[in-house]
C-alpha cells in the first residue's frame, strides 16, 4: 500500500445497538483518484467521513489509510474573526511543536499556499467576510500547506452558487490530477460526481451500496433507487468536445406520479 492509498472493508456503524446506519461497506481508492460519496439526507455520509478521518471509531470493519489526511468540513462559521492567513497557518499544526508558536517561515509557507489558490491579496481579510467559494479555497490552501496525501471534503459545493461550484470542482480536479492527492468528497449532486470523480460510492441503504467506477455506478437504475427520481444521462457536443452529464428530471406537479 503506497502513500495516499485508502481502503475500507466490512465497514459498519451503529450509534445505538442494532440500529445500523450502514454495514458491510467496502471500497478502495489509489493515490490521485477521486471518490464521490452519494446518499440521501441521513444516510450517514458525514458519519462515514468522520470514520475515514479517524474522528469516530467504527462499530465493525476496518479502514486502511496510508499517508496524511486533511479535512475540509462543510462550509462553516468560525467563532472568531480569524484572517485567511491565520486559517491557513493552522494547517501546520502537526509541524509546530506542542508548546511552540508558528515561526516566520511558517507564515511564509502559509502565504505561498494562499498564493497558489490565488488568494494572496486577501491574506489579512477576515475569513467570515469572504464568499463561500473563497472560504473553500482558503481551506484548500490549508490542506496544501499541511502537505496532506488524502483530502476528505464534506459536501464542498452544498452552499455555493453555480460559478463557485465549478471553481471548487476545478480545484478538486487540479488537486487530484496535478498535485496527485487522493480526494474523497460527499455530495448531493450526482452530476458533480460525474464531472470529477473516478469512483463513486452510493449509500442506498443499511447494507445496500454500490461502489466502483463512476461510469458503472452512476447508472440511471442506481440513481433512481437512490433518489426516487429519474436521472437521465445526456451526451452532447460543447466546444468540439463530447460532454456527458446527468440531468435530474424534477416532477414537481401535484398530478405527477412519484414522491
Amino acid at each position: 500500500m503506497s502513500e495516499g492509498d485508502f481502503s475500507f472493508i466490512g465497514l459498519g456503524h451503529a450509534y445505538s445497538p442494532e440500529k445500523w446506519i450502514f454495514r458491510n461497506y467496502q471500497s478502495q481508492v489509489t493515490r490521485g483518484q477521486v471518490l464521490a460519496l452519494l446518499g440521501p439526507n441521513g444516510s450517514g455520509k458525514t458519519t462515514l467521513l468522520k470514520i475515514l478521518l479517524g474522528a469516530l471509531t467504527q462499530t465493525e470493519g476496518s479502514v486502511s489509510v496510508s499517508g496524511q489526511i486533511a479535512f475540509v468540513p462543510q462550509l462553516f462559521q468560525v467563532a472568531f474573526d480569524y484572517s485567511a492567513l491565520d486559517m491557513v497557518l493552522m494547517g501546520l499544526a502537526k509541524k509546530v511543536g506542542l508548546f511552540s508558536q508558528p515561526a516566520a517561515a511558517d507564515e511564509e509557507a502559509a502565504l505561498k499556499a494562499l498564493e497558489r489558490v490565488g488568494l494572496a491579496h486577501m491574506a489579512y481579510r477576515p475569513f467570515h467576510e469572504m464568499s463561500g467559494g473563497q472560504r473553500q479555497l482558503v481551506i484548500f490552501a490549508r490542506a496544501l500547506v499541511a502537505e496532506a496525501d488524502i483530502l476528505i471534503l464534506d459536501e464542498p459545493t452544498s452552499a455555493l452558487d453555480l460559478k463557485n461550484q465549478n471553481a471548487v470542482l476545478k480545484w478538486i480536479d487540479r488537486l487530484a490530477r496535478q498535485e496527485n492527492l487522493t480526494v474523497i468528497f460527499s455530495t448531493h449532486h450526482p452530476h458533480h460526481a460525474y464531472a470529477v470523480a473516478d469512483q463513486a460510492l452510493l449509500m442506498l441503504g443499511e447494507s445496500d451500496y454500490a461502489a466502483g467506477p463512476v461510469s458503472e455506478v452512476l447508472s440511471e437504475t442506481n440513481l433512481w433507487r437512490l433518489y426516487g427520481l429519474p436521472l437521465k444521462r445526456v451526451s452532447f457536443e460543447y466546444e468540439q468536445k463530447a460532454v456527458e452529464t446527468l440531468v435530474p428530471v424534477f416532477r414537481p406537479r401535484a398530478d405527477e406520479p412519484g414522491i
Binding site: F76, A79, F80, P102
Partner: protein
C-alpha cells in the same frame, strides 16, 4: 425610473465605504505592527501601577509618595538617609503595594482565563463566572473555610471545586448533546446555580467569623491584600498562565471545532483537559484571595479582541494586561474616589453588565460570531 432611485443616497454608502476603509487600515496596521498594542498596554499598566501607589486615603503629599515609590521601584535610587516618616513608608509598602499587586494580578488572572475559556468553548459569550468555574471555586473554598483551613488548603479546595464545576458544565452540555453555543452557557448557569446554593448553605451553617469570610468571597473584595495573599495568587497564576501562554496558538485550532482540530493532528481531549485544569487553577487562586469578581473575564477579552484581533497568540497576553489594568483602575476608583468598602465585584458588575448589553445590542443583526 425616477431620478431619486437612479442616484445613490448622497452620504450613506460613502460614509460606509470610509468606515470600511478605516477598518481595513486598522487591520493592516494590526497585522504589520503585531506587537504594538500589547507593548502599549503593558506600558499603560506599568504606569498605572506606579501611579496607583501615589494615591490613597492616607493623607500624604503626592511628591512624598512619589519619592517613596521611586525609591521602592528603583532600589539603587534609595537615599542614604531617608527623610520620610516610617508610617508613610509602611502605608505604601505594606498597604498600597500589596493591594495594587493583588488587583493587578487578579485582573490579569481573570482576563487570561476568560480569553482561554472563550477560545476553548468557541464562544465569545462565556467567562469564568458564567460557566460555573468561579462559583465552583467559591464552593470549594467555603468547604475549606467550614473546616477552618487556611492558605494553600483553601486554594487547593477552590481548585478542586472549580475543576469539578467546569468538568460538570462540559459533561452536562455533552450529555444534552449541545456542547456548542447556548447549550454550554445554559449548563454553566445550572452548575453555577447549584454551587451558589451550596455556598448559601455554608452561609447558613457558618459561625460569625466564617460568615464574614464567605460574604467576602461572594461579593469579591480586594481589601484583604497582604504579601501572603499576593503570593497565594501570584504562584498559581504564573504557573497556569505560563502553560496557557505556551498553548495559546493551539487555542486557535481548538476554537475551530473538535473534528476540524482533530483532522489537523490535535489531541483534542487531552489538550482541553489541560486548559480546563489551568483555567480552574488560576480562577481558584483568584477566588481564594479576592472572591468572585464577575464580568471581567467576559468583558476584557472582548475589548482586547478589538484591539489586537482574535488570534490567541496576541489575544491572551493583551487580555491579561487589559484585565490587570481594568481591575486596578476600578480598585483605584473605589479606594480614592468612593473612599468606601464597595465590593470590587459589585463595581465590575456595575460596569460589565451595561457593557455586555451594549455589545448585545450592537450585534443585533450579525450574531456573536462576527466579533
Amino acid at each position: 425610473m425616477p431620478q431619486a432611485f437612479q442616484n445613490p443616497p448622497p452620504y450613506g454608502p460613502r460614509l460606509k465605504i470610509v468606515f470600511l476603509n478605516s477598518l481595513s487600515a486598522v487591520r493592516e496596521f494590526r497585522s504589520s505592527h503585531q506587537w504594538f498594542m500589547p507593548v502599549l498596554l503593558t506600558l499603560a499598566l506599568m504606569v498605572t501601577m506606579v501611579c496607583s501607589l501615589l494615591i490613597g486615603a492616607y493623607p500624604m503629599s503626592f511628591w512624598r509618595a512619589g519619592d517613596i515609590t521611586l525609591s521602592l521601584t528603583l532600589p539603587w535610587a534609595w537615599p542614604e538617609e531617608a527623610t520620610w516618616p516610617l508610617m508613610e513608608l509602611a502605608v505604601i509598602q505594606m498597604i498600597r503595594l500589596p493591594r495594587v499587586l493583588l488587583a493587578t494580578v487578579a485582573g490579569m488572572a481573570l482576563g487570561l482565563s476568560g480569553a482561554a475559556l472563550q477560545g476553548l468553548m468557541r464562544n465569545p459569550l462565556v467567562g469564568p463566572d458564567l460557566v460555573g468555574v468561579s462559583s465552583g471555586a467559591a464552593l470549594g473554598g467555603v468547604f475549606a473555610i467550614m473546616f477552618y483551613w487556611t492558605g494553600a488548603a483553601v486554594v487547593a479546595m477552590a481548585f478542586l471545586g472549580g475543576l469539578l464545576a467546569l468538568g460538570g458544565t462540559f459533561g452536562l452540555a455533552k450529555l444534552a448533546r449541545s456542547a456548542d453555543g447556548i447549550g454550554l452557557i445554559l449548563s454553566g448557569i445550572f452548575v453555577g446555580a447549584f454551587c451558589v446554593s451550596g455556598v448559601c448553605l455554608g452561609l447558613f451553617l457558618a459561625d460569625d467569623h466564617q460568615m464574614s469570610q464567605i460574604v467576602h468571597w461572594i461579593m469579591g473584595y480586594l481589601n484583604e491584600a497582604s504579601p501572603e495573599t499576593v503570593w497565594l495568587l501570584t504562584g498559581p497564576t504564573i504557573f497556569g498562565g505560563s502553560v496557557l501562554m505556551l498553548l495559546r496558538w493551539r487555542l486557535n485550532l481548538l476554537s475551530l471545532g473538535d473534528v476540524d482540530a482533530f483532522s489537523m493532528g490535535i489531541r483534542v481531549r487531552s489538550l482541553r483537559l489541560v486548559i480546563i485544569a489551568m483555567v480552574s487553577l488560576i480562577v481558584a487562586a483568584q477566588v481564594s484571595v479576592s472572591g468572585v469578581i464577575g464580568w471581567v473575564g467576559l468583558v476584557v477579552p472582548h475589548c482586547a479582541r478589538t484591539l489586537v484581533g482574535p488570534d490567541h497568540r496576541r489575544l491572551l497576553p493583551a487580555s491579561a494586561v487589559l484585565g490587570g489594568l481594568f481591575v486596578l483602575l476600578i480598585d483605584d476608583f473605589s479606594r480614592v474616589v468612593l473612599r468606601s468598602d464597595v465590593a470590587t465585584g459589585t463595581l465590575t458588575a456595575l460596569i460589565g453588565t451595561p457593557f455586555i448589553c451594549f455589545l448585545f445590542w450592537r450585534k443585533r443583526n450579525k450574531g456573536w460570531i462576527h466579533d
